[in-house]
Subunit: 304 residues, 2 copies
Amino acid sequence: MAEFTKEQLLERVNTNHGAEGNARVRAITERIVTDLFHTIDELDVTADEFWKSIAWLTRMGQTGQFGLLTAGLGFDRLLDIRQDEADQKAGRAGGTPRAIEGPLFVAGAPLSQHEVRLDEGEPEGEVFVMEGQVLDLEGQPVAGALIDVWHANTQGGYSHFFPGMKPYELRRRIQADAQGHYRFRSYLPPGYAIPPGSPIAELFTALGRHGNRPAHIHFLVAAPGLRTLTTQVNIPGDTYIDDDFAFATRDGLIVELEKNVAPVGYESLGVTAPFTRSRFNFVMQKAVNENEALPLTRMERVAG
Amino acid sequence: MAEFTKEQLLERVNTNHGAEGNARVRAITERIVTDLFHTIDELDVTADEFWKSIAWLTRMGQTGQFGLLTAGLGFDRLLDIRQDEADQKAGRAGGTPRAIEGPLFVAGAPLSQHEVRLDEGEPEGEVFVMEGQVLDLEGQPVAGALIDVWHANTQGGYSHFFPGMKPYELRRRIQADAQGHYRFRSYLPPGYAIPPGSPIAELFTALGRHGNRPAHIHFLVAAPGLRTLTTQVNIPGDTYIDDDFAFATRDGLIVELEKNVAPVGYESLGVTAPFTRSRFNFVMQKAVNENEALPLTRMERVAG
């Protein structure tokens, strides 16, 4: 029988397998395919609309920017909310809130002890120092914690993704000292915007949405026995702080800025005039297994 | 407010737009995003599972083979079934059944009058001639109809996609004569299989499914005032004829083979010994508008 109804076709697509395969992949695929069949039918999606969407998906695929798509459609934040819920059920609470990693992490940034300058060459914008301690839930310092920090340049671009930037520009790894202290000098970054003219910009324009994120700085904090913390802090006062493209800003992650701080004690970071400072402690939960404590990004966790 | 529940997040994702944008894109995106939020929640999709799927999608994107994905998950056939239903409602019936175009058409094949050899160089396999007439629903010949024909080589590969093949190998455009007659010589193609080791093969292995299509030949038939016909014929006897990866085989499109046909009259195609022949007429419906009669593939229709 080679003639079938939509329902019979769907049944075939979902059940027609000769080998066992992976039951979980089958179950998730079956659900997604079924929903899409119904969407096409109920919203009366035409063949032209369908192929136009596939042409768009093909252009998306050439850019590799699916991580921007998932962020902008709320999936990254959804995963964080789900993890928060699971934690709550498991009675795990406290510490610095998690925030989305975003798609622009690059592993292998240069490592420094205790402090580092993220900015290189001529100073840009407002001289900014962020400093604090890595602590556990009992308030004890986490000696030697590893802090990956990365942020955008003055044009909103991230190194390794934005043309003309040096490798690892504005990306560093800091090892906290024996008291868990870290500090770094940089400048206050601007917000981020999705690449103009890209397939992702095309979609968000059609959705009537902007592609702006408020100014933020990314962190991945790891230490043995503690749960790896992926988070971001926001710079206060940004237009988009309550209207983030990625729905990722969170209470408790907007830093305070101290203006006109005296430079005494900051000479090793090249600070010689009053500057802007922010103090922020990273508070880490205990890991319940070794995997949770690995210093891995989301893609490193699933690689291989 | 930067803290919200999953439901509040979804509401934001679906409604938070500052510009009008395209209402249709918004409606379809809202439906798809909502379904995916529910899928993640109800099937308890983990962050690792989510990022693994995005890593796979990124690899898929590098191959550009979304057209194989849509075929294998039944969407191409679904669109045909939906069009058949719409035709039935509109009282449009008759003629050669449509069949999926597939993702491997290439525009611009060399044009020949009335007849052509698709195979080049040394003959391969069984000498095969397909011939017939292009007719309208009243049985009248369609003079000068344009027939694009394309099929796989002995290894199941299509030129422009499979390494080592010549440009337009096994792809030709034939203009039927004043009586609508066409014929071409080639060899009986084998089936097609999705590329081994590709991200698409990875998915279908996980689904426990094979990636084989039964032996077939593709056609796109166009003529002024008639509805462009995209179809395929199948070679009888193939193992996969009722188990097509793309769910695309149809009643009425399995050709009959006449074996040991005398070569008299086929000298212009280089046939000098008994050969295998198939006779097949393409029967075309009237177009109800100019767009339907354009000689365009699915991607040409949505380009620009």
